[in-house]
Symmetry: C2
Subunit: 153 residues, 2 copies
DNA sequence: TATTGTTATACTCTATAACTATA
DNA sequence: TATAGTTATAGAGTATAACAATA
């Protein structure tokens, strides 16, 4: 087990302390953890998210989901088709050309299991912070995600 | 300009308040902003990062960079080749089979410009927070990125 | 033998353009 | 005409396997 010194170079990291890269790395760590935790359900994070969303919004359309998740219409097609193939969601006729999406019994079971896993993963990281820190983190992330208030640039 | 009501459905969002998804969205917003801001330099965020890293660590190898950035050896090849093609970095002989990477004059110019842009983007978001909030955010992101202290799972 | 650089390949995610169907 | 779903396609990003070169 002597693979600690794998290189003759110990790099100085000028980007590690930057906000943008810290966000990126923290996000990647949590997403990787979530992905590994959902793997036993044969669900990716985006699929679990869609199950939770349809559960909370029965009869929504896949375009509705795409808008909320920032996923283009065209890219929703294989996602929804995959969950239909797994018999977790079903389509019925909706207004216009849209479909009304709902969870099947198996889909509701998967949604419940996925929610439990997502709660557990979030909980593991939230437990590293005290309530005051969590409140500050929440507020900061919300403001960053909302983008720059005025100028779009 | 009446494209406010683009759908008959206003979705409830059960994943929006989750830590993992807030991190992901905040990261995506900042990365998109950084990408757009670097575009005039014809540099992607990962290329700008590599320029900063080589500037801080002259004569490092591309495997060193890959290890620090979490990019596989095989995927470093086109990245480094692209920056060599842009005449921003150059390779000289290193130990073993490795190359010693360094910035050309044009690369040093680009590195300086990229650093200024990265400072500006980070600054725009950091200015939305007071110093106490920034300190809490930094600490929280660092701990999340470090992963779970003990059990890997 | 271990490490580096390299090629080839595949899979996911994302983006655009174009087409069809429906209110 | 505007919206929804679909198809095809192209570009990043990332992963693995295999190979050559070098200490």
């Amino acid at each position: 087990m002597n693979h600690i010194l794998q290189s003759g170079f110990n790099l100085i990291d000028p980007v590690g302390p930057r906000l943008g890269y810290m966000l990126r790395r923290a996000s990647a760590v949590m997403m990787a953890h979530l992905g590994a935790s959902l793997a036993p359900l044969d669900l990716r994070p985006v699929e679990a998210t869609i199950l939770l969303l349809i559960g909370a919004n029965p009869n929504c359309s896949q375009s509705d989901l795409g808008r909320l998740l920032g996923i283009k219409r065209a890219n929703m097609v294989p996602l929804i088709a995959g969950l239909v193939a797994k018999q977790m969601i079903s389509k019925s006729v909706g207004g216009g050309r849209s479909h009304a999406l709902s969870l099947t019994a198996a889909g509701e079971t998967a949604r419940g299991a996925a929610e439990k896993i997502m709660d557990a993963v979030d909980g593991r990281y939230e437990s590293m912070l005290d309530p005051a820190q969590r409140a500050v983190l929440d507020d900061a992330l919300r403001r960053i995600a909302a983008g720059l208030g005025n100028g779009e640039e």
